[in-house]
Symmetry: C2
Subunit: 300 residues, 2 copies
C-alpha cells in the first residue's frame, strides 16, 4: 500500500516548522534570560533535521493519532538529542568545533556554558513531559510510561552507554557485532523511543507497537550506516560536517569493517526490512515509508 | 512542642544507611557494567551528608507519611545532587580535584567519563521517578507532579541558572540581594523541592506544604551561609574540602559581604524563622527541627 508519490519534502518542511515553533514557545515561556538560555536556544533552535520528533509524530499518525497530543513528547526528545550533541562536541569528548556548519555550543559560548546548557536541555525535556495538560487520570499513567521509556533509552542503559563505547572504540578495532551494539545504544535507543512514544500516545495496539519498534530498529541502524558513508563521500557544504574524520580518528565504522559497497547493500537490506514491518499498515504510514527511503538517500 | 533531646545522630545514621542501600539497589539493578557505571557509583555512593533525601523523608514523616513511599523521590533527588557536584567539579567549571576528601569524579576517571556519568545520574533520576509501582491512577498524577516540581527546581529556572550566576560572580562584586537570589536558585530550589516532594507524597494539606516550603527556604539559605563560613574556618580534615578557596577566587560570599559575625547572626535568625514555620506541627517534625539546628552547627 505504499504511495511512492508521497511528497516527503513538503511533509518535512511542514513538520519542521511546527516543531520549531513549539520548541520556541516552550523555551521562551519562562521569565529566564541571560547566557544560559541563549546557549540552549542556540543549539536547540539551529537547523537540525528534526528526524526524531518527526518520527514520533509520523508513528502516531500512522495509527490515527493527533499531532497536537504528541508534540510535548516530540519536543522533549529533540531536547534530549540537542543536549547529547552539545556534550558530545565538548573538548573532552569529540572536540568538534563545527556542527551543521555553525560553531558548536562551546565554541560559540564557552565550555562551562555548554556543559550547563546541555544539562538544562536534558532537564527541560522532563519538565515538558511532566507539564502536559491531562484529560483524565489514565493519561497520567501513559505519560509516566513515556517518561520511563525515554529516560531509559537516553540513560546509562542506552544512549549514554553507547557514547561511552563510541569513545572507547576510537583507535581500536571492534567487531561488527560490537559496532552494531554500540549504535543500537548510541542512536538506536532514542530513535526507537521516539517511535514508541508516538505509538503509545496514539493508543496503538500491542502488535502495532511491536511492528513499529522493528521498523525503528532497522532504520536506526541504516541511519548510522548512511552517516558513516557521508563521512567518506559526503559534501561538507551540504552535511555541514567535515569528511574523513572517522578515518583520521581510526574509528571502526561500517565501511571500515564491511567496505563501502557492502555497507550500502546492508543499509538497503535494513530499509527493505523496515518497510516489510509496515506491511499491514495503511496509507497513513506513508510518511514512515518515505522517511525509511530518505534515510539512505539523504545527502546530509 | 520541640523535643530538644531528639537524637539526630542516630536518625542520620539510620536514614543514611537506608538511602545508601536503596541507591545501591537501584544502580545495581541493571545488567550494565563497565566504566560508566563505576563512575556513577563512585560519586553516588561516596560518603555524602544525604541532607536532601533525609529532608525529603523527614518532611513526609512530619505529616505522617511512610518512608517506603518516599524513597524513590529521595533517591532521585540525591542522584540529581550527585550529578550537579560531578559537573560543578569539572575543569571548565570549578576545577576541583577533591570532594569529601576523595578525588573528584573526573580526577578519579577522566573528564569524558565524568561528563557522561553526570548526565547518566541526572537521567536515572527521572527513570526512577517514573518506575514507581502505582497503587492507583491518582498516584500517577502525584508522581507526574513530583517530576515536574523536581525538574523545574533542577533546571534552567533553578539550580543550573544558579550555577551560571555562581560562575559569573567569580572575580566580581555582587550585592547581597543578588547573592541571595543566586543561592536560592543554586541550592535552595532543590532543597525546597526535596521537602515539597516528601510533603506531597505524604498527602500533606495545602497549608502544611506552604509552611514546609517556608522552612526549607530558610534552612536552604542558612545552609549556604554555613558553607561559606566553613570555607573560612572549617577543618579540612572534617569537611574534606580545602579552606580559603572562596577568597582566593574572589567570590562574593555572605562573610565577604556581611562580615563573619553578622553572617553567623543572620544564619541563626533564619533557623529561628524555619523553626517558627513548624510551630503548628507536632513532635513528628522533631527531626526537621533538629536538622535546622544542625545546619548551622555542623562541622562538615
Amino acid at each position: 500500500m505504499t504511495n511512492n508519490d508521497f511528497d516527503l519534502k513538503s511533509y518535512f518542511a511542514d513538520k519542521t516548522i511546527i516543531i520549531k515553533n513549539e520548541l520556541t514557545k516552550i523555551i521562551n515561556g519562562s521569565n529566564v534570560s541571560g547566557q544560559l538560555l541563549r546557549a540552549m536556544e542556540y543549539s536547540l533552535l539551529s537547523e537540525g533535521k528534526r528526524i526524531r520528533p518527526i518520527l514520533c509524530i509520523a508513528a502516531a499518525e500512522s495509527v490515527g493519532g493527533k499531532q497536537s497530543d504528541i508534540l510535548p513528547a516530540a519536543c522533549a526528545i529533540e531536547m534530549i538529542h540537542a543536549y547529547s550533541l552539545i556534550h558530545d562536541d565538548l573538548p573532552a569528548i569529540d572536540n568538534d568545533l563545527l556542527r551543521r556548519g555553525k560553531p558548536t555550543c562551546h565554541a560559540a559560548f564557552n565550555e562551562a556554558t555548554a556543559i550547563l546548557a546541555g544539562d538544562a536541555l536534558l532537564t527541560l525535556a522532563f519538565q515538558v513531559l511532566s507539564s502536559v495538560k491531562l484529560q483524565n487520570n489514565t493519561d497520567s499513567v501513559i505519560w509516566l510510561k513515556i517518561i520511563h521509556s525515554i529516560s531509559t533509552a537516553a540513560g546509562y542503559m542506552g544512549m549514554i552507554e553507547g557514547q561511552m563505547r563510541d569513545i572507547a572504540s576510537e583507535n581500536s578495532q571492534i567487531s561488527l557485532l560490537e559496532l552494531e551494539n554500540l549504535h543500537s545504544l548510541k542512536t538506536g535507543a532514542l530513535i526507537t523511543a521516539s517511535v514508541e512514544a508516538g505509538a503509545i500516545l496514539a493508543n496503538a495496539s500491542f502488535d502495532q507497537i511491536e511492528q513499529l519498534k522493528v521498523y525503528s530498529e532497522k532504520i536506526g541502524l541504516a541511519f548510522q550506516i548512511a552517516d558513516d558513508l557521508l563521512n567518506i563521500h559526503g559534501d561538507p557544504n551540504i552535511t555541514g560536517k567535515p569528511v574523513g574524520t572517522d578515518k583520521a580518528r581510526k574509528k571502526s565504522t561500517y565501511p571500515s569493517l564491511l567496505g563501502i559497497v557492502e555497507s550500502e547493500h546492508y543499509a538497503k537490506k535494513l530499509i527493505k526490512e523496515a518497510l516489510h514491518a509496515l506491511a499491514l499498515f495503511d496509507n497513513k504510514s506513508d510518511p514512515l515509508r518515505a522517511i525509511a527511503l530518505y534515510i539512505i538517500e539523504r545527502k546530509r
